[in-house]
């Protein structure tokens, strides 16, 4: 029976993807090619274990919703359903501390309720807790002494927002606190002293045909008619993260908009990733079983130490890893009960070369470790993005030995060979990558070289051609006299 089942599964896998590359993963590992079509690929990460609260000795988690790894390698788990924050070591072997009550500045104790987000500032070692159930953000030191409480701002700017329900929180180097609520105005920004400063990083309203039509209708309608019309508002940002240089990355969980899904914001709030589309799955996945089409919904974003951008898609429970330029590196995970699959992925965090994914229904943290292939790609990408094209050549060739259709490798090799002066090779790899831009760069150099090499022959050829033309013309004139007389 078991053998039959295995055979059936194998057949199914063979039908779905005849070239399944990774053997040890229980799902089809894929990547996207130049034409945005899914192609089989190698796994960059593989799940090694998943850890529950019970295994840690802290009792099962309940709907945990956020993970955070601080500078001292302590892992904070916002255990939302149990109204507590569990702190473990980075290897997830033992519980170091459990926060459920804090001491207020006036000496009284206060319990947290449904904490949804946690952040620890590396400079000040202050905990920032999005205390969702109590509609406040607690700023406390590691001993649980609350330093600051942020509640709904009594500010004219905040008037139109009805509630203050913090979901994610982070603080920048200057101590400014950013709080993601469900507000469409962006993250609420507080100064280090707790004063409300305004909003940060709101999404733009996308110019869909409906929105444009609305604008035209506004021009033609009266004030009264306009006030009755539904306002066009952008979708609220869902989560954010800070990178080493102080840029804030936001992600937006939305099926209705394509723009601004992932943004990289500078301190002024400008989006450096504007105009970048195609985060998450490029084609909506259709499931015949439930007759629904799944659009990607990115619910968490994490910038790892090597500046890769990791996004978590809660629709398909997949992690999409991009390099710092936004080029797709790996897609990992699936919706399943097996190890490496998730049922309701809520948050992700990176720790060195592992990715930790929190599952809000399985109540576990899954540890995904980098494979050899992943290490290679990361090494090559890092070298490539820093401009060491030649040094990246060797790792890129190695990457191709693992996965012969990895497009970034073709691009990388094309760039590396161009630097080395092997223009023909560069053209060949540009063609394999289907990149006309890279081909153009290589072809320009190749043509230059070819013209220089053959300049003498070319000049001679041109001379002969002109001379031959003149002679031929004379010959014709002589022999076709009277042929065409007007």
């Amino acid at each position: 029976m078991k053998r039959m089942l295995t055979a059936c599964l194998l057949c199914l896998a063979a039908v779905q993807m005849p070239l399944t590359a990774a053997a040890q993963e229980h799902y089809d590992v894929y990547n996207y090619d130049r034409w945005s079509e899914a192609v089989p690929s190698q796994a960059g990460y593989t799940a090694v274990r998943s850890v529950s609260g019970e295994m840690l000795g802290a009792g099962d988690f309940s709907q945990p919703s956020d993970l955070f790894l601080d500078a001292e390698d302590r892992l904070y788990i916002a255990d939302t359903g149990n109204d507590r924050i569990v702190v473990t070591d980075a290897a997830l072997t033992e519980v170091m501390r459990i926060y459920d009550t804090f001491v207020m500045p006036d000496g009284s104790e206060t319990a947290i309720s449904q904490p949804k987000g946690i952040y620890v500032a590396p400079e000040t070692e202050l905990l920032y807790i999005a205390d969702y159930g109590n509609a406040r953000v607690l700023v406390s030191d590691l001993d649980g002494q609350v330093q600051l409480v942020l509640t709904r701002p009594e500010d004219a700017l905040y008037e139109k927002e009805s509630s203050f329900l913090p979901q994610r929180v982070l603080a920048d180097k200057g101590g400014n606190v950013y709080v993601v609520t469900s507000s469409t105005s962006g993250a609420a920004m507080f100064g280090a002293d707790g004063t409300f400063q305004g909003f940060f990083g709101a999404n733009a309203v996308e110019s869909t045909p409906a929105v444009i039509a609305g604008h035209i209708r506004d021009l033609l309608s009266t004030q009264e008619m306009r006030s009755r019309r539904a306002r066009t508002v952008p979708t609220a940002i869902t989560s954010f993260d800070l990178d080493a240089d102080g840029f804030i990355y936001t992600c937006t969980q939305s099926t209705s908009q394509d723009a601004d899904i992932v943004k990289k914001l500078n301190p002024a709030g400008n989006n450096l990733f504007s105009g970048m589309y195609g985060w998450g799955d490029l084609q909506p996945v259709y499931d015949a079983g439930t007759n629904t089409t799944y659009e990607p919904m990115l619910c968490d974003i994490e910038i790892s130490e090597d500046e890769n951008i990791n996004c978590l898609d809660r629709t398909t429970n997949r992690v999409f890893q991009y390099d710092k330029e936004g080029d797709l590196l790996f897609i990992l995970g699936s919706t399943s009960d097996q190890l490496g699959g998730f049922t309701e992925a809520t948050s992700l965090e990176t720790c060195g070369n592992t990715i930790l994914v929190l599952d809000g229904r399985k109540n576990t943290v899954t540890v995904m470790e980098e494979t050899n292939f992943g290490t290679l790609v990361h090494k090559a990408t890092a070298l490539f993005n820093d401009g060491y094209y030649e040094e990246a050549l060797e790792p890129w060739y190695e990457v191709l030995r693992y996965d012969g259709s990895y497009r970034q490798a073709f691009l990388g090799i094309s760039a590396g060979l161009l630097v080395q002066g092997d223009y023909e090779g560069s053209m060949k790899y540009a063609k394999l990558a289907d990149s006309s831009y890279r081909y153009d760069r290589a072809f320009e150099c190749w043509r230059q070289e070819w013209l220089t090499e053959h300049s003498r022959a070319l000049a001679l050829g041109a001379l002969l051609l002109i001379a031959g033309g003149i002679l031929l013309h004379r010959y014709w004139k002589k022999h076709r006299k009277g042929g065409m007389n007007r």
Binding site: R34, F443, E444
Partner: protein, 209 residues
């Protein structure tokens, strides 16, 4: 006077946009065979233009190739033009026969077809910074042909310029109507086919049971 071979007539027409067609008409020149050749070259050129263009300008996906769209965009489009123009201009007191409309219009396409080949060829030699040359070739070829088409219609029907432009607009409308009807007929036949096929399945099923 004007004893030209068929090939020379093509050259004469292309290089004399304003009176070339009048000469052809007067000498009753113009060959259907050459017109068909131009049409075939156009079709081939369109395929080459979209498939064999220089890689530094355009990466073409080789996964899927279908020749039908190219056929529709060139040969069928041209035949529709011919029939549409004939239908419209017969009502507008035009003097052109179907044969002449076909031949003159095909002759008028020569610059455009040439530009297709020239552009495709040059795109393998030039780089992106020099793309302006390709644009020039394309635009010159296209507008030269447009001019020749106007001249051809004017001559073949012996119209004034304004009447020619009016006739061309009407022809385009007629072409749209024809294409619309063609699509309609196609879908109708498809439904008839489905109907017949389902009856067939039904009958076969009855016999088997």
């Amino acid at each position: 006077m004007m004893e030209l071979t068929s090939g020379q007539w093509v050259r004469h027409v292309v290089l004399h946009p304003f009176e070339g067609f009048e000469d052809v008409r007067w000498k009753k020149a113009g060959s259907v065979r050459i017109a068909c050749g131009i049409l075939a070259l156009w079709f081939l050129g369109a395929v080459l233009y979209s498939r064999m263009y220089g890689f530094q300008f355009r990466a073409t996906s080789d996964k899927l190739f279908n020749v039908i769209p190219y056929l529709v965009q060139t040969v069928i489009l041209f035949l529709t033009w011919t029939v549409g123009n004939w239908a419209v201009c017969t009502l507008l007191d035009g003097e052109g026969t179907m044969r002449n409309i076909f031949v003159y219009s095909a002759y008028a396409l020569v610059p455009y077809v040439t530009s297709l080949y020239a552009e495709t060829l040059l795109s393998h030699i030039l780089i992106r910074d020099e793309a302006i040359f390709l644009t020039i070739i394309h635009d010159v070829g296209l507008w030269w042909s447009v001019l020749l088409v106007i001249s051809a219609v004017k001559t073949v029907h012996q119209y004034s310029v304004m009447r020619t432009l009016f006739a061309i607009l009407l022809t385009i409308a007629a072409m749209l109507a024809m294409l619309f009807l063609m699509v309609l007929v196609l879908s109708l036949f498809q439904q008839v086919y489905v109907f017949v096929y389902s009856i067939y399945t039904e009958v076969v099923y009855r016999f088997r049971v």
